[in-house]
Amino acid sequence: MTLARLKEILAGEYGRRVVIGVPYAWLLAFFVVPFLIVFKISFSEVRFSMPPYAPLFELTEDGAHWRAIFNLGNYHYLIADSLYIATFAYSIKVAAVSTLICLAIGYPMAYAIARARESTRNLLLMLIVLPFWTSFLLRVYAWVGLLQNDGVVNNVLLAVGLIDQPLTLLYTDFAVYVGIVYSYLPFMILPLYSNLEKHDLTLLEAAADLGARPMTAFLRITLPLSIPGIVAGCLLVFIPAVGEYVIPSLLGRSDQLMIGRVLSDEFFANRDWPVASAVAIVLLVGLLLPILVFQRYQNREIEAARR
């Protein structure tokens, strides 16, 4: 009896709400609420206690009133100390340059795959995705062995006689670019491919019939049509790369850190949770616009798959 009633409830409007409510509840509890906590702590003062920050609302000494302590000091500290501004600027520069290199390498590859024969296309796609399934950390680590002074790259260059002194490659900006491009390249290629694959090739034929040279046809037809793919690929690389932590830690300079590392150092080494939270909020606000643009693209892409 009760079981039948339960089934009835689950089948109706209530059931619908329960089904919607389950993922909603999870994401609210473990994605939205944590951000609110970070936001809150970014206004606290650091304190030697556990947890090491002052509460925002405190009873006054006489115990009669609540007092709100809303402290902008952490944000002021970030602006006043040129170290943080330089770190933000450096992170954005590294992410932007890496994104452009990814685009320059990924576009021709995506194009080649999209125009390949159908049978080879799936194989090529699998080859692009396969490294993604193997550990990201280990793939970054592989470059340590390749780039160090007695590493493979230097040994090869010495052996063929292009250089007579080993180049300093590891722990430089160059190494960080290599690491980011290497790790994120599939994220550039896949959205580009899914865009390029959908193009109507008769447009190119028409252009050729009308006397357009292949390069002109590419610049006037293929490139404009592929802009949504370019935007999606660039955002998929750029946004996570700004906050990248592992790659600069393993391959990058020690005199210029990226913002992800600074956040983590503030938190773990300095135990300054409020400043770490403020860094996270500033980073998040800076990335909000790209994240929203990416979400619009992503949702449109899924809707477009509907037949």
Binding site: I20, W26, P34, I41, P131, Y141, W143, G145, P214, L235
Partner: protein
């Protein structure tokens, strides 16, 4: 000028070499005798000594076992939650809060890991302070954090798969009087099974691979395999990590090939059944 076919082939060959040569070099040097990872000791190589060193390293094996358990639980929970979320977004039509749910499921895809890690840790600390749970950090907190970012990937995969099918079969079953739950288990679920399998594998891999978020939420007692590797390789190259990488590449390659073949078979059988059903329905 290069012909267009040549240009495309060059782009692919150069790009794929870039992707695969580093992995290849790791595998080659895992058989190298010398401690200096990058100098090939031709007299005593190839050797399996780094592999045997690895397999007798209890610390690494413990960490690997913890990572496997976390990844398996994460993948399973993510698949359940992600499938529900994907179903809701693809099939439930408009409802209040739909845009927010869509936003919440895509945001973790690009969110920098340090932000996710920090926010999850602060949540756990605040919870522990307020209600005494979670009591210490380890398996449970790492798993919750992993599920939160992995479920987004499953949602996207399931949602795209569902968007590729019209809902006429589901409508028909509902018209014939089947309850929504029955429709889900006998029609929708078999349709999206390939997406669920790839979603599970994806979530497993992402969890297995994660180092940044784990480092934030792990607490002092629990170390996952990526955390152990990261602390090792921060100090420079070490040959047993090369051996570990080679084993992982071999396992992954095997899994990917098998699952691709298996999913192709599933897909073919489903298409056949659908054709037969449509033929029988006239």
């Amino acid at each position: 000028m290069m012909s267009r076919g040549r240009f495309r082939k060059t782009a692919l060959v150069v790009g794929l070499s870039f992707l695969y040569l580093p992995i290849l070099s790791m595998i080659v040097f895992s058989f190298n005798n010398s401690r200096l990872v990058t100098v090939w000791d031709a007299a005593h190589s190839p050797t399996l000594k780094w592999y045997s060193a690895l397999l007798s390293n209890g610390h690494i094996l413990d960490a690997a076992w913890l990572s496997i358990r976390i990844a398996a639980v994460t993948a399973t929970l993510s698949v359940v939650l992600g499938t529900v979320a994907g179903l809701v977004l693809a099939r439930f039509g408009p409802f209040r809060g739909r845009a927010l749910l869509a936003g919440l499921t895509t945001a973790p895809l690009v969110m920098p890991e340090v932000i996710t890690g920090l926010s999850m840790l602060l949540l756990f600390v605040a919870l522990e302070h307020a209600i005494g749970w979670p009591d210490g950090r380890g398996f449970v907190t790492i798993t919750i954090a992993h599920v939160t970012f992995c479920l987004s990937y499953v949602t996207v995969v399931v949602q795209s798969r569902l968007a590729g099918f019209d809902d006429s079969l589901e409508e028909a079953a509902l018209d014939l009087g089947a309850r929504p739950a029955r429709v889900f288990f006998s029609i929708t679920l078999p349709l999206i099974l390939p997406a669920i399998i790839s979603g599970w594998l994806l979530a497993f891999t992402l969890s297995w691979d994660d180092v940044v978020i784990s480092q934030f939420v792990a607490g002092p007692s629990a170390s996952t395999l990526p955390m152990v590797i990261f602390s090792k390789v921060r100090l420079g190259v070490s040959p047993d990590v090369n051996a570990l990488a080679s084993i992982m590449v071999a396992v992954v390659a095997l899994c990917v090939v098998c699952s691709t073949l298996w999913m192709r078979r599933l897909e073919r059988r489903r298409q056949l059944e659908e054709q037969m059903a449509r033929a029988a329905g006239g």
